[in-house]
Structure formats: C-alpha cells, structure tokens
C-alpha cells in the first residue's frame, strides 16, 4: 500500500522492481583483532592487589567472623532491618507524593502555590537532614503543644502534646526523612516535567484536555522515564540515610547494632554486618529500578515491538471478556 514497508521489514510491494543484489551474501571480513596488552597487564595487577586486600580482610582477626555470623541473622538484626525497610518505604512514599505535589505547585502559574513550594524546597534543601531529624525529635521543646485552630483568634479545634507525639521515635524519623525527601523529589519531578516536549502539552490541550488531565495522562507518564532512574538513586540513598535515626535512639538496624557494640565493643564485626545488609538491600533496589525503567520506557526503548504485542494481546483479551 505505501512506502512504509521499509520500516517494518516486510517484502516490497508486488510490482516494485528493485535491482537484484550483486550475488549471494559474502563471508564477513576475517581480520586479526587488535591485542589490548595494556588491559591484560593492568587487569592482572588489579586482581593481584584485590586478592591481597580480600585476604587481609578475611584473615584479619579483628573482624571476628564468628561474631559476624552470630549477628548477621540474629532476631535483633532482623527486627532492625524491618524498621529500616519500613522507614525507607514510608519516607519514600511521602517523598514521592510530596515531590509531585510540590513540583506541580512550583510550575503552576499561581504565584501563591509556586511561592509556597519555593520556600518549602528552600528550607528543606538548605538544612542538613541530620539536623532536621534532631529538630523534629525535639519538637516538644519549642512547641510544647500542637494546636489546630484559627491563629490570632483564640479559636481552637483541638490540641495535643507534642512531647507524646514525637515520643515514638518513628514519628520524628518519618517526618524528617519524608519531608526532606519531598524537597529533593520535587526538583527531580520538576526536571522530568520540563524535559517533556512542549508539543505534547499543545497536542493534549488542542484535544480539549484540561491542564490537569494533560499533566496526569500525557506529561507525567513521560516525565517518569526521566524521573525513575534518579528516584531509584534517591531510594538507595534513603535506605542508607535511615541510619541517621540512630542519632535520636531509633531502633532501625544500625541503631540496634550500634547499641550493641557500644557495650560489647565488637565494633568492626557489627559494622561488617551492617554493611552486608545495606549492600544486599541496595543491590535488590538496583534490580527493581531496572525493571521500573523498562516499564516506563515503553514506546521509547528497543523493545517496543515486544511491548506492542503485549498491548495487542491485552486489548484482545479485554474485548472477549
């Protein structure tokens, strides 16, 4: 029917007279590849040095391998690990939701919204998360009572003791980590939104889609492709940042191990335990991130033919349902 055939690899249309190829397909060129001697030599040196390093670590009696094994799967470590994961997940959810909200506010043409977002980001990006954690934990010191009401009028709907609120370590921990993350996520999401071609916005608007619908259905899904890799990084970073909660007596994994070694002085073996678990979890996250990237890359990547087939199958299944 048309010239598109050269794009999808089908045979040319009947009657199209293409000249015959100049004989059968010839053998590929056989040449002796360049030898990278420098690479081989440097690799050998690196392997040699790494072997020495690993050997010195494994054989180091200060590591106290029996202690490492004792704590690696100990109930204490497991409970801490659970809290570490919980903190990471909740903080990232708050961070992601807050980040999208702040980014959209920041890009809004409403100066009030964009101003609020600007100040928020300014404050939370401008202060160290470590300080924020301690600040939230001490909320009761400068605001002993939290009151919901109308300022300056004396009208009060309800109030609570901030001391009791932040007494459970997880509350200031989640507040600090989540709100801080939202500020960083906002900048990521904003960069992602800006990276989407202006023509996409116009096409959606010209179809009668409202700005909100355009954002949700057209711009954000495409921004995701840019956001996901960086957001994966943020999650990995968050997993490690939870260890700062130890500063306010948080009982996430590192906090618990720290509490142990401050009494038993088995510092090195317990740090090895902590590092092992952090490495394991960040490795898992890296795999998850790759999957997410593949999902949001649909329509862009080289696997689009495969993705298209899946879509077709799903649509047909729905039609029969």
């Amino acid at each position: 029917m048309d010239a598109s055939n050269r794009y999808d690899g089908q045979a040319p249309p009947a009657g199209a007279d293409l000249p015959a190829p100049a004989g059968p397909r010839p053998d590929s060129i056989k040449a002796i590849p360049i030898r990278h001697w420098g690479r081989w030599i440097s690799a050998a040196i690196v392997v040699y040095l790494m072997a020495a390093l690993v050997y010195s670590f494994v054989k180091n009696s200060n590591v106290e391998w029996p202690v490492v094994w004792q704590y690696l799967f100990a109930p204490l470590t497991m409970r801490g690990l659970a809290l570490t994961i919980e903190l990471t997940v909740i903080s990232m959810i708050i961070g992601a939701a807050g980040g999208v909200l702040l980014a959209v506010m920041r890009l809004s043409d409403n100066p009030v919204l964009s101003g609020i977002a600007w100040v928020y980001i300014w404050f939370f990006r401008g202060t160290p998360v470590y300080v924020q954690i301690i600040l939230w934990a001490n909320l009761g010191v400068f605001y002993p009572k939290l009151i919901v009401g109308l300022p300056f009028t004396g009208i009060v709907f309800g109030s609570t003791d901030s001391g009791t609120l932040v007494a459970r370590i997880i509350v200031p921990a989640i507040l600090a980590l989540g709100l801080n993350e939202a500020a960083y996520a906002a900048e990521l999401v904003r960069a992602g939104i800006i990276s989407v071609e202006a023509g996409q916005n116009e096409a959606a608007l010209s179809l009668g889609m409202s700005p909100t619908l355009t954002m949700r259905r057209v711009v954000l899904p495409q921004a995701m492709r840019v956001i996901i890799p960086t957001f994966g990084n943020e999650t990995i970073s968050m997993l490690k940042t939870t260890s700062l909660i130890a500063a306010i007596g948080g009982l996430e994994m590192f906090g618990r191990l720290q509490a142990v070694y401050s009494q038993t002085f088995q510092i090195i073996p317990l740090l090895v335990v902590a590092c092992t678990w952090y490495l394991f979890l960040t490795s898992l996250l890296t795999v998850g991130q790759a999957r997410l990237e593949a999902y949001f890359g649909k329509g862009f990547g080289e696997k689009e033919a495969e993705a298209a087939e899946k879509r077709a199958a799903r649509r047909k299944a729905r039609a029969h349902a």
Partner: protein
C-alpha cells in the same frame, strides 16, 4: 449556528511577542465545509494565526470566532472576560489540530492515542471509543497498525494517526499546521490523500502548507500571508494562477521554480 454564519471569523487579529508584531490585523472568513489554505514565506505569521484560532496563543487585539463563539473570552456588553481553563478546553475540543511534528503521545499505541481524548474528555464508553478509533484508523489506512507505538511508525503513518486522533473528537473544524513539512518526500502523498478525502467529506479545514498543488486542487479559498498580514486572498485559481499582487507573484515564482 445559522446557515450563513462562517465557521471561522477573524477580525483585525493582532498578535505580538514582546516588541515583535507577528500578526498585524488579519481579517478572513471560512465558511462551513470549506478548505482554506494559508500560503506564504516562513515567519509570515501563518502558524501563529492557526494557533490563535484554537487559543493556544492569545491574541492581543481583534476578535476570533469559531462557529459563532468568541474564542477564549466571554463578552458581556462591551467588556471581555477571560474564560476559565475548563471552558477554553471545551471550546478546543471542537477544533482538531494537526501539527508539523505530529506530537503523538509516545507512551501510547496508535489506538490509545486516538481513544484518549474521547474517553477522558467526552467520557465516551471505552468499548465504543475503541470501536470508533479502530474505524478511524482504518479510514486513514492504518487498520493493521492499531497496537503499534508511534516510534515504530513512519512519519507519514504517524501523521495519519495524528489526523485520526483529532477526528476522534468529532471536531467542527480541523487546523493543519504544515502537516507534510517534516515528512520524507515519498510519504507526503499518503497524508495529502487523507486530507483530500476529508475535504470531499465536507470537513471545514484551515491548512497551513507549502503544497501549492494541494491548494490548487482542494482549496475553496487561498490566502498569501507575509509580514503578519494577508497580502492577497480569493479562490485558488485567482490567487495561484492570476495573482494581482507583486508579492504573490514573487512568492509563487520562487515556490514553483
């Protein structure tokens, strides 16, 4: 809308970007079922005028009506009130637009592109929207490409999906902004064929293009724009074959050379 009312009416439309005046008082009417072609050199204001018609650009002075409705404003007495985004969106949903760079949604397949606005904006039931989208894609010769992502389609195919996507909203008016300028020469024909068929079917169209042949064959009215004004307009045979203005003659001699 009464029978004698134009589908598009522009009255002294003025548009500037900062100090640069891009449209300097443009007047024209397009009657229902007409195809109106805007020709002229780049930077003459053709595309801007098109974008003003569906309020993607806001005009600085003058008036623009589509199907008797003032675009983007509500007039109460002598005072104009800006419309809310929701109401502008509603007006735009009656005006289809096709872009030079296609602007298909790359994360959606061909049929999803076409279904998106009917389902989300007009709340057409999914099944019905899907059937209509399939029919539209078949009409533009892409019945075999329903579940294909834009990146897998040739430029000509993408542009035909884009036309189907605009038609899915059952617009009263279609705007074409240089629909074939980004295409390989051998793919131009397939897009023009779809547009010719639309004209035959009675769609009202405003087309910015450099395809003089298309203008001659299909247009009911042709306008030559340069320097932000319409230099000459009229039936295609007058403007393209026996132009009165020197500027038109010069432009045609260059394009047809």
């Amino acid at each position: 809308m009464s029978a004698g009312q134009p589908m598009v009416k522009a009255e002294k439309v003025w548009k500037s970007f900062g100090k640069l005046d891009v449209l300097k008082g443009v007047d024209f009417d397009v009657m229902p079922q007409e195809t109106y072609v805007l020709l002229g050199p780049s930077g003459g204001g053709k595309s801007t005028l098109l974008r003003c018609i569906n309020h993607l650009e806001l005009i600085n002075a003058g008036r623009l009506w589509v199907a008797g409705e003032l675009m983007g404003y509500r007039q109460k007495g002598a005072v104009l009130h800006e419309m809310k985004a929701r109401d502008v969106a509603k007006q735009r949903s009656h005006v289809g637009m096709v872009f030079q760079r296609f602007n298909l949604f790359p994360h959606m397949t061909a049929i999803e592109n076409v279904m998106e606005a009917p389902v989300r904006v007009q709340h057409v039931p999914r099944k019905q929207a899907e059937a209509e989208a399939e029919e539209l894609l078949r009409r533009v010769g892409l019945g075999e490409k329903l579940d294909t992502y834009p990146a897998q389609l040739s430029g000509g195919q993408q542009q035909r999906v884009a036309i189907a996507r605009a038609l899915a909203m059952k617009p009263k008016l279609m705007l074409f902004d240089e629909p074939t300028s980004a295409l390989d020469p051998e793919l131009v024909g397939e897009v023009l064929d779809v547009m010719k068929q639309l004209a035959v079917d009675g769609m009202t169209m405003v087309v910015v293009t450099h395809e003089i042949g298309f203008a001659k064959e299909v247009a009911d009215g042709v306008a030559l724009m340069d320097g932000g004004v319409i230099v000459e307009d009229g039936p295609p045979l007058d403007v393209l074959v026996n132009p009165k203005e020197e500027r038109t003659k010069l432009f045609l001699s260059k394009v047809l050379a």
